[in-house]
Subunit: 214 residues, 4 copies
DNA sequence: TATGAATGAGGTTTCATTCAT
DNA sequence: CATGAATGAAACCTCATTCAT
């Protein structure tokens, strides 16, 4: 069970939780977590304030739900066949990385507020992330491991697992930064188009995977 | 003049601003911006709350000062000869990048709270960053331009300026992420030592700079 | 029937009431009445909150039960042969009073929280004390009447009933004050040991009983 | 300075505190402390809620003020010549004690709510009574010391100080009990008129002071 | 200009009570 | 009858901002 969350998940109670999570997901797409008030959440979910406290011990207990919502969104996105990554045998590593980058980019642009909040709270309250966050990361790392395996002959990093992790980390960090905060932040230095940026990201990961150990 | 900041910079008034900025700098190293109250700032600066409002129209008007403080810190750090980057003719690109990475890492570890807040607000309130942020970025990009120029024969990117910008962006983003939030966030996937991470960062930038255009 | 209490005392219903009273008695020994929540009581009694409201119209309706619990405790205490007051013919009034005082003191020290709450609510909500409180008092007054009767020749108060009432009142008030609130309150002025206090109490009652009418 | 109370007592600030204390005193005469809300106090004092928190860190910080108000009331009462206790040489101990009792009784009847609350919180929150409570007690004990000194030949208790303390304690406890809670509580056993009760109280103290050590 | 007391909207949390199941 | 989820009024407290001195 998530931190501060309150037991009992059946019948009316279960539906209430669903209403709350749905209302919360809506709000998370509209504004940052700390501008969301409990009263607002209650209203959006169509329940009373007390009801929120019936399911969540306090406002902090909602933080793990951010990741639950995030994970749900990713699953929904991954379930869409349009986003399936098919690794053709005739393909090479670089275009495959570009596909991945382009996909990640689309996702970031589609759900900026939610992803922003998730990333923010993963940092602000690491104690409250729960297991969903790990699941999210491991899934993504796994995808890279597959790609590396598939184009094994092109990759020169000796430790494939470490390489997959770093590749994920690189791509994730760099794209989230640019995708979420756009022209603000250090990204302002770039002044490039979306497409150019996607290409550069792919190049970066490609460069990392194919360069020899020091 | 910075947004929301109030004119008149002479005599008593000027010293008041200095006191405020110094107190603010102290507090920024201790806690996040939004946990700093105006009353707290006034006390730390040794002035009255009303006086703060005499210089800054509202709390938001302090956000640009975050970047001013950040820039001042960078300048102080850059002014220290111990941190000067000397590009020896006999050197090669890769060790030079490693030096840069190691330096950046030290800085991040020395001033995490301030850098965290600056990066956060550059994203949360891009409208309020002011000119200092640009100055910070251009300075850093410039350093990369120098390095690229110096090891020109090793770099295969055709557009040197664009390459310098991306290199800065990469390094900055990736290191800030890992340096500030450590094990939380996607960085948790890495599970590597500081030294290994620094090396990987250098490799990444190196890989990017030396890989051929698509 | 007690105020606000709900009829029907048979079978399942009767056992529910017992569970509630037992749980309530436990809680009364742990904390003041107004820090006890209905949800807490329900849990302790092993029933649902709604069930509490099935037996008691509202929280106030529990106040008379405080006295019921108090009375039960006194009866339990009085039933213990170790606490029986045997008035020997060779005894005199003063040592008898000291025995009574010492006994009362032990009781106060054994059940401070419950007695404190009972006395508090007898004052705060005199409308809700119910008949149990009278029973408690009359039992105690009766004991004094016996003692006065037994040492009739030593007592100089003409009205024996009034004397018994005042004696009880004196002892009760003075000891409860000191026993429950110890060093706080006016008792702070005393600064005496338990034994000395018990002796002084006995002296006081003795002085009252043996002094002549004005 | 009192616990949780906030510094600065001059000019506007001083007047605000006065307004608050006056409004508080009014409310204390009307209802128990814990039914008084901060918003209510603010309104009564004619200030904003924030202002209350500007002077008192939290609601608990008002508890010491209860005793301040109580002490002020006692001083006001003591200052009235009508209440001065003149010990005539021709007097004897017993009538003097009766005068004291009668006076105490009048006071109790005049300010029941305030005295009730003060006594209640002296017990509930002994940590917050502050110095005023000690001052109140010592003043009262001092009065008894005087009386005992004046009628020294009638008093048979060897330790005059201890006797004064016990006399005060007795009288205070017994009268407060009866005066504040009237017919509720153990006082219900008495069923006597006010005058008879006053006489009995005097007799009790007299009995105590004039009976020989055990 | 400097001060800091005063303000009050707005946020979180508790808990007696109701009522659908 | 029993249950416990749902309710929402009401309490406490914070803090950016104003304004009289």
């Amino acid at each position: 069970m998530r931190q501060g969350e309150i037991q009992a998940e059946q019948g009316r109670s279960r539906r209430t939780r669903e209403k709350l999570v749905m209302g919360f997901a809506e709000l998370l797409r509209e504004k940052p977590f700390d501008s969301i008030t409990i009263a607002e959440l209650a209203k959006r979910a169509g329940v009373g304030v007390g009801t929120v406290y019936g399911r969540f011990a306090n406002k902090d207990a909602l933080i793990p739900v951010i990741f639950e919502v995030y994970l749900k969104m990713l699953e929904h996105y991954a379930g869409d066949p349009a986003n399936a990554l098919t690794l053709d045998e005739t393909d090479t590593l670089r275009p495959a990385l570009e596909k991945i980058c382009a996909q990640a980019w689309r996702l970031l642009r589609a759900e900026p507020q939610l992803i922003r909040t998730a990333h923010l709270y993963a940092r602000l309250r690491p104690d409250l992330v729960g297991e969903d966050w790990d699941a999210i990361i491991e899934a993504a790392v796994g995808q890279f491991r597959q790609v590396i395996e598939h184009f094994s002959h092109e990759v020169r990093r000796p430790d494939r697992d470490a390489a997959a992790r770093m590749a994920f980390y690189l791509l994730n960090t760099v794209m989230v930064e640019q995708g979420l905060y756009g022209d603000a932040g250090p990204g302002a230095a770039l002044r490039v188009s979306d497409d150019a940026f996607i290409t550069d990201c792919a190049t970066t990961v490609y460069g990392f995977l194919t360069s020899v150990e020091k």
